[in-house]
């Protein structure tokens, strides 16, 4: 394996807008809200940035294509700006671009900004749109919940689990995230719910109900990264560094070859294995302090916890019901509310996950603060279970 990214790059500052139905905001307004917090946190100015990466996924709904919208909005001084898109994992892609540029020495200070303005479609859920002319000819007529519901039927069949038991565990995934989200002033959904509410909710795509699905939100998040020595020169003492940054992309194996059973993510397992190796983690269940999983749907979080080797295969449902992933549990998951409650402005989500891990590692998470976290993992997934992109990032305090 390549030498890896561990401890080469520091997060100098981060920012995140309030997520939600931001009827009063354009995407540009959200970018400024996140970026201004980020610049203030980093203690640098726009003119000091060497290069920027800009993530949006459904740009036809808001800013349009290219790096220009970011450069215009922040009046960046004619620096390189790269627009990236990798389904719902776009936010982590922006971060990856910035981190690699710094690690390569091509930039001293690099900016990553992600944004999505989804609430201009006129209806709930993600926009119904073309998947490309050829794909439109044969891809199933799937909504996102429908595509991810496949996991539930396959998982249930594989493990011989009663659907009622699985649904209860899935419900607890959402109950826990609502509990956490209620303590996050920037979260889209801040109400507490109970399991019965989840189980009684209208069905969206069998067996997923309304509360098994994450929020569709407007929002933006941003990070500035640099090398450790520069951060120290700028007066930073507590440094949060990147321990691992991995991406795995489906190649048709799951979609076209008769091997994958549909109950997990091949890419999750690949990205996690590489990330743990890069970070030097041998026993993730013992070493990871907390995580933000890509909980677009409750079942996604459930199977991901197994793919990340935090729960044994076939046993995540039990850990979930036992409270292992609650705020007071051994590995708190979605301590900020997750996609479920913080919300899911697609291009921003990967950066939002890193934002919470960053705050927690610096002891700045207010009511949500966990005692002494050392390593935080973010898992950002885009696409469908049978064809997707998955990034796994691990950040921690320098020396952890």
């Amino acid at each position: 394996m390549a030498r890896g990214i561990k401890d080469k790059v520091v997060i100098l500052g981060m920012g995140c807008s309030r997520f939600g139905e931001r009827w009063d905001c354009n995407a540009e307004d959200l970018v400024v809200e996140a970026a201004e917090e980020c610049f203030a946190d980093a203690g640098v100015g726009r003119e000091q940035i060497d290069a920027a990466w800009f993530s949006t996924a459904i740009e036809e709904q808001h800013v349009g294509k290219s790096g220009v919208p970011l450069a215009f909005t922040l009046r960046l001084p004619f620096i390189p700006v790269t627009r990236v898109e990798n389904f719902c994992a776009s936010g982590t892609e922006a971060f990856r671009g910035a981190v690699y540029a710094v690690a390569a020495g091509a930039a001293d200070l690099a900016l990553a900004v992600g944004v999505e303005k989804l609430k201009d479609t006129g209806y709930g859920g993600l926009p119904q749109r073309s998947r490309g002319p050829l794909n439109d000819m044969y891809w199933a007529n799937a909504s996102a919940p429908g595509a991810f519901a496949q996991l539930a039927t396959a998982y249930q069949a594989k493990h011989g689990l009663e659907m009622e038991v699985l649904k209860r565990a899935m419900a607890q995934v959402s109950v826990k995230s609502h509990e956490n989200g209620s303590r996050n002033p920037k979260a889209h959904l801040r109400n507490r719910i109970d399991i019965d509410t989840v189980l009684r909710a209208p069905v969206i795509a069998e067996p997923l109900g309304l509360y098994d699905c994450c929020g569709v939100s407007d929002g933006a998040a941003a990070a500035i990264v640099t090398r450790p020595e520069i951060a120290r020169e700028l007066g930073k003492k507590d440094l949060v560094t990147v321990k691992a940054l991995q991406l795995s992309v489906s190649n048709g194996f799951e979609a076209s070859f008769n091997s994958w059973d549909g109950s997990h993510f091949v890419t999750n397992r690949t990205a996690a294995r590489r990330a743990y190796e890069e970070a030097g983690i041998r026993d993730p269940r013992a070493e990871i302090s907390m995580l933000e999983a890509h909980d677009c749907f409750s079942i996604t979080e459930l199977v991901t916890l197994e793919d990340l080797r935090l729960s044994e295969e076939g046993h995540a449902w039990r850990d979930i019901l036992d409270g292992f992933y609650n705020a007071q549990g051994k590995i708190p998951c979605q301590i900020d509310g997750g996609l479920k409650c913080f919300g899911h402005p697609i291009g921003a989500s990967g950066l939002r996950m890193l934002y919470e891990m960053y705050l927690q590692l610096l002891g700045r998470a207010a009511e949500r603060q966990l005692p002494d976290p050392r390593l935080g993992l973010t898992h950002n997934l885009g696409g469908f279970p049978h064809q997707n992109v998955v990034s796994v990032a691990i950040i921690g305090r320098l020396g952890a």
Binding site: R129, S130, M137, N141, S143, P145, G146, A157
Partner: protein, 490 residues
Amino acid sequence: MVGIASFGGYVPRLRLERKACVEANAWFNPALRAYAKGERSMANWDEDSLTMAVAAARDVPGIERSAELSAAFVASTTMPFADRQNAGVLATALNLDESLSTLDVTGSQRCATSGLIQALHGLAPGNGRTLFVASEQRRTKAASPLELLAGDGAAALVLSREEIIAEFVGSYQLAADFVDHYRSAQDTFDYSWEERWIRDEGYLQIVPRAIKTLLERLEVPASRIGHFILPSPFPKLAQRIAKTVGIPENAAADNLDGMIGDTGAAHSLLLLAYVLGQARPEEYILVAGFGQGCDALLFRTTERLAGFSPRRGIKGYLERRRPESNYNRFLAFRNLVEREKGIRAEADIRAPLSTLYRNRRMAMALVGGQCRRCGTPQFPKGHVCVDPKCGALDSQEDYCFAGRTARIQSWTADRLTYSPDPPTYFGMVVFEQGGRLMADFTDVDASAIRVGMSVDMVFRVKHYDELRHFPKYFWKAAPDAASDSTGQKN
């Protein structure tokens, strides 16, 4: 000797209860109560005359891989395209060789019998066989008698000079511009004249003349006719005409009006496919088709008939039935009411015709690839073999997945995505001999669907482009309710 070598049929699974239709409309036209008995077949929202034609052709065993076909005819007055050869679409969907004569026959309720006569006469020595398909989905106005009388369905015949199960003995055609109804080139619906006039001056005058002339010329006594097929909207009319011309009254075939309704231009051949499924060797079958005149065709079954059966046949499709008591669903499927579909339905998903042509085998015939090196079937066909142990470049031969056994690995009922008939069922289907596809489902029985169930791949409308009036076809998985969880047929 020329004749029929094999046959198949198709009737949509949905059966609209006529009572539901009458209850909704009798306030307006109490006379509709006369038609309240039984059911009529009702195409699903994703079916049209073309998909039913493909289904009927695929009911003929081995049709997809038939290298012997040299012609494919489609007869219908309700094909989706007025100018794009529908028989060509059918041939593509069946993955037939492009060395093929294709022709659409249309313009009259007897276009199928007229076309069939021409096709039988056209079987030249040295040429291959001819696939002749008739299919109809008549558009009818709400609250019209025809809405209750009509049904949707299709039939397919393979015509040949050898291996014949029913010999073509002869035919007679009578042309009379008797306008019982018409549909002008600008119209969507039929305009009809008085029923009593149609019966007395039309059927009862014209049909007997054609039958008598045919039998006289062929020197076959009417008393020897074992099965007499005459579609008509009038009860017992075939029996009455049989009596007039000397055909035994019990020879008049059941016109299936209680279960299907009148499938228009397809009905003569649909009834022929039904009768052939029950007839014995060495029987005469007289088929008549009425519409601005009359066609009469005489067949005689052979010993080979006993050894042939279609995959399901009309009889099998009659049993594959789901009653529909919601008349509003019928109106919606036929686009007879303006419905609120929601903003999601506005997504403009067109089919670029150049993309469609390049990928026609994939999109229309469910053709993927099979790796020459490792043997792995895969959909879609790619440049690099999907088996991670192989990875050969440009190693794939065409491989048709239609007709191959597959099972459900995962599924859902999606209530968010737009569908004309929510929820949308779809899931991963895994082919037993290799290959898989995340496929839309159709004809789903919500209470029976489960992981492990076997599915049939069927040719359907994937999406109807309402801006350009263009049906985009693809293949869907139809769960086979007769299979248990191991996929074995019960």
